[in-house]
Subunit: 560 residues, 2 copies
């Protein structure tokens, strides 16, 4: 490959990850050539423990807002929230046309409709092996197997060269043919010459291959056949390949099937419309009809496999579900991963289900789930198929990116052509050479209720403090003219100590405040801040000494 002296070649292609590198979630990558911007994915992240009260997190895409008029299109690789969850926010700011596969478009339409955004946006359905152009970018969809249907990798042809972005993928064999990763097309791209491969790093620590979906199917079928009572399968609503298997198993075992919960219903409706799942006539029943059938005639599909406290499964486990009460002989199958951070919630539900007499089947004791992300052997296969000049690990925490980069080196990609980038880095490609250049600002934006970005470090710090030891408000009213205390100190607390213990403690605290205030010189004009500071300090010391707690202390001194 020798650089040719065409005019296009002297303009660099820029790739700028705005999210997803150094974290799981927030996937969003900018491709920029000759002033035209293409955005790949627009994902969210669920809040971490310390982000108290935050509903969701989205990437800080200030860079896109600043260059709004240059954004020519948004391409989505698949329908998971960490790839499409920030889209409604992004589209409100930048209503660029969106390109994705039919299933992803259908799900996105549903979301946008709920937020009254649908009419403002152009949505384009593209099938695998189809191509389309956005400015100087010529994009082809390549089928990628994942724990959804209609996932794709992207072949992005640019004047600077061909980039392959894998999206989320795995390469296992033995599953439904239509949904298998299109290795032939990847191999053809490799023959054509790939300038850079951006590849999913999620499982770069995992040796070997992912189990195939059909092996899971066999385990699932056995569990369904073994159950003498009702069967409840909990999974992610977007896992259409798994839903299809469950429908097949229900058909084979002659069970009626119930789809419980809104997100499953949406997913099933779209999957049936697009022909991914065929529910035989008469097989599907409503949850209200369950009582008309024998226990072993019913299979119920629901969400809540992550222990979400408001889910149908959590209500079943707590004995609070209207239609479904667990009985001896029932079997509950959690057909999904224990996502780190959710373990306690999930095992809490498992314990409750066992207590109610159910048999419970979950990944710790049975091969009931398989990851949607390639393991190391598959990652190597992806490199072998595409034979890229440059390699850039994406989609993962730093450790995943690093292990993926090392794997690429093992496979024979020279170290100086492995680009271990982070969010905000501008990766340039020009004349067949790639390098990490300067950076743009990125970060995370917290969404709390209707507020976008109005919760930051200070607010979270206050919430943390309030969460640990509650708060105490100490009120005093002074006479405006004389400065004499005419009311208080009155103390009021929340989340601090039990009501019965409080009286005594807060009475003592009143005396402490009065002692502290007595020693102040209140003749100056700054008596209010003086009293507030003294109250704050006296109470902090007193509570720390007596009960070793540090509530948030709010002194409130007024003059009337």
């Amino acid at each position: 490959m020798t650089p040719q002296d065409t005019p296009e070649k002297s303009i660099p292609l820029k790739i700028i990850p705005l999210g997803g590198l150094g974290e799981i979630g927030l996937n969003m990558t900018v491709f920029e050539y000759d002033g035209v911007i293409l955005v790949v994915d627009s994902g969210l992240m669920f809040p971490e423990d310390y982000m108290l009260g935050v509903d969701i997190v989205i990437p800080d895409y200030e860079y896109l807002r600043e260059n709004k008029e240059r954004v020519a299109g948004i391409v989505l690789t698949h329908c998971h929230e960490d790839h499409i969850g920030a889209l409604p926010f992004l589209l409100k700011d930048i209503p660029a046309p969106v390109y994705a596969t039919p299933f992803t478009i259908a799900l996105v339409s549903h979301k946008l409709e709920e937020k009254d955004l649908l009419s403002r946006v152009d949505l384009h359905k593209i099938k695998p092996r189809e191509s389309f152009s956005i400015g100087p970018f010529h994009i082809e969809f390549v089928r990628a197997s994942h724990s959804v249907v209609d996932g794709v990798s992207l072949a992005i042809r640019t004047p600077a060269g061909l980039i392959v972005h894998t999206g989320d993928f795995k390469i296992t064999h033995g599953q439904l043919d239509d949904e298998a990763t299109d290795v032939s097309r990847l191999a053809q791209l490799g023959e054509e010459g790939v300038l850079a491969l951006l590849s999913d790093s999620t499982n770069a620590e995992k040796e070997g291959y992912t189990l195939s979906e059909s092996e899971i199917g066999a385990t699932l079928e056995k569990a369904v056949r073994d159950s003498s009572g009702r069967v409840i399968v909990a999974l992610f609503a977007s896992n259409v390949p798994r839903l299809a298997q469950i429908v097949n198993i229900a058909a084979k075992t002659g069970k009626k099937i119930v789809f419980n919960g809104r997100s499953i219903e949406v997913s099933m409706r779209i999957a049936q419309e697009l022909g991914y799942i065929n529910v035989p006539p008469g097989m599907q029943i409503d949850v209200s009809e369950v009582k008309n059938y024998e226990d072993n005639e019913v299979l119920l599909v629901t969400t809540g496999s992550q222990g979400e406290p408001m889910s149908a499964l959590a209500r079943v486990a707590a004995g609070a579900h209207k239609q479904i009460k667990i009985r001896d002989g029932d079997t509950v199958i959690l057909s999904s991963k224990f996502i780190p951070g959710n373990e306690k919630a999930i095992t809490g539900i498992i314990n409750n289900l066992y207590r109610r007499g159910a048999e419970v089947i979950y990944e710790k004791i049975s091969a009931i789930h398989v990851s949607g992300h390639a393991f190391r052997e598959e990652l190597k296969l992806m490199m072998h198929l595409t034979r890229p000049r440059y390699f850039m690990p994406v989609h993962g925490e730093y450790r995943h990116l690093l292990h993926h980069a090392r794997l690429a080196e093992k496979v024979g990609i020279p170290k100086n052509r492995i680009l271990l980038a982070q969010n905000g880095n501008v990766i340039n490609f020009m004349d067949e050479v790639g390098w990490i250049g300067e950076s743009v600002d990125t970060g995370r934006t917290f969404v709390d209720g209707k507020g976008i970005g109005d919760v930051g470090r200070k607010v979270l710090k206050d919430r943390r403090a309030l969460s640990e030891h509650g708060m105490v408000v100490a009120t005093m009213v002074l006479d405006f003219d004389t400065g004499v205390v005419i009311y208080g100190p009155e103390l009021l607390s929340r989340g601090f100590v039990f009501e019965d213990e409080k009286g005594h403690l807060l009475q003592d605290a009143q005396c402490v405040i009065m002692d502290a205030v007595e020693q102040l010189d209140l003749s100056g004009p700054d008596r209010i801040p003086l009293i507030e500071a003294a109250t704050q300090q006296a109470l902090r010391r007193f509570f720390n000494y007596v009960i070793r707690r540090r509530p948030v202390i709010v002194p409130l001194v007024l003059e009337v």
Copy 2:
């Protein structure tokens, strides 16, 4: 085994688990015969996510307080916090004599000394295969291998029969002879006739055998030899078998060793005094001397393997440790389990260490740790050795207990002799027959600062609410005689929204309050509660509508 008609036989032996059944932690079991009470273990639990601000959790042992004068002794099986952490609290209420192995006693002494309790308590050192009596109980210690030294199972001889309580154990071969589980003695007890086996259920879901400690040693040694820079090993301070291995590896590879952190120092001091570990002269150096040696001459042992934010390891990872700055070539080994709930904190540290250039070795990518709790094959071996008439799974969540009970059934223990009990159940044994009888009250007591049990559901609910959307205090002062508002409404918030956004929002909220108050009839004597309720309701609606948040609203109406 035929029941004999001796007078003793007609008194039931009672076993009452006060904690540890249906949960990991809080281990505490009461043995009661003819009015005499023996307590086995007194453990704590670290708070779960929803227990905001709680420092530790201890069992609610009201039953023991009520029967204080009948408590004749406390036996500890080993030195982990989930077995001894509640001891200082228990001893303050009930200063009964304590019996344990030398290492456990040494560690307990250290703890009690710190709390000024040591002089009030009789501590008795008992070695494995030694026996002692507490009232009608004749107790023998039987060596049990675990991730500590000096762990024991208990053979408790009572007039009603012989009970074996395993404590925490595993049975693997190939480790240091002295610390291996005493299978011969267990077999002898089995020959003698065991009425009931109470056995550790932690890993009842795990197939096969635990890896042996010596296999871990080989992996550790390779990692140490492979490092071109300094080696940092992080582990639990109480894991003396692992510490011993690390000292051996340091000696073999000719490295200087540093023990960093107070708990490691205490553990090493006791382990050396008791002869469990021999540090060759001149090998140990202080952390301040590290700089005098080449990088590859130093091995540093520290805690923080669970991602604890204040630990030395967290400071090293954040680049904030005074003496230790990570350089390329350094290796950090996390030689412990990823405890569920801590995953994110641990992987955060791993990512930071990688970013600073360290090689990082952890259980996800290397066999660098082994559980201290028996897997299923070992659990079966324990049953085969002791051949108990009754079996009672202990130490685990409900799912663990259930799987363990099922395993016992598989091994051939009849279902009606498997006692799947829960905390508070009174398990009776008389005339060779065991049954679960009535229950006593148990539960969990939250310790927050110096407060024991003064944080409950209401306080936690308030803290939760405060943590999610912060709080808003709305103050108004009325004239006592006329009821006219002479000050306010004044609004003050914490943890609610950004300062810059607040002005506008809170101004609008003031108007909302005034509108609401205007419509009230304030002529009656109850004007204060009326205004407070109206303020509360108006603000709740307003904030929910405008920003969809539900801060804790504290209305404060005063009259002067």
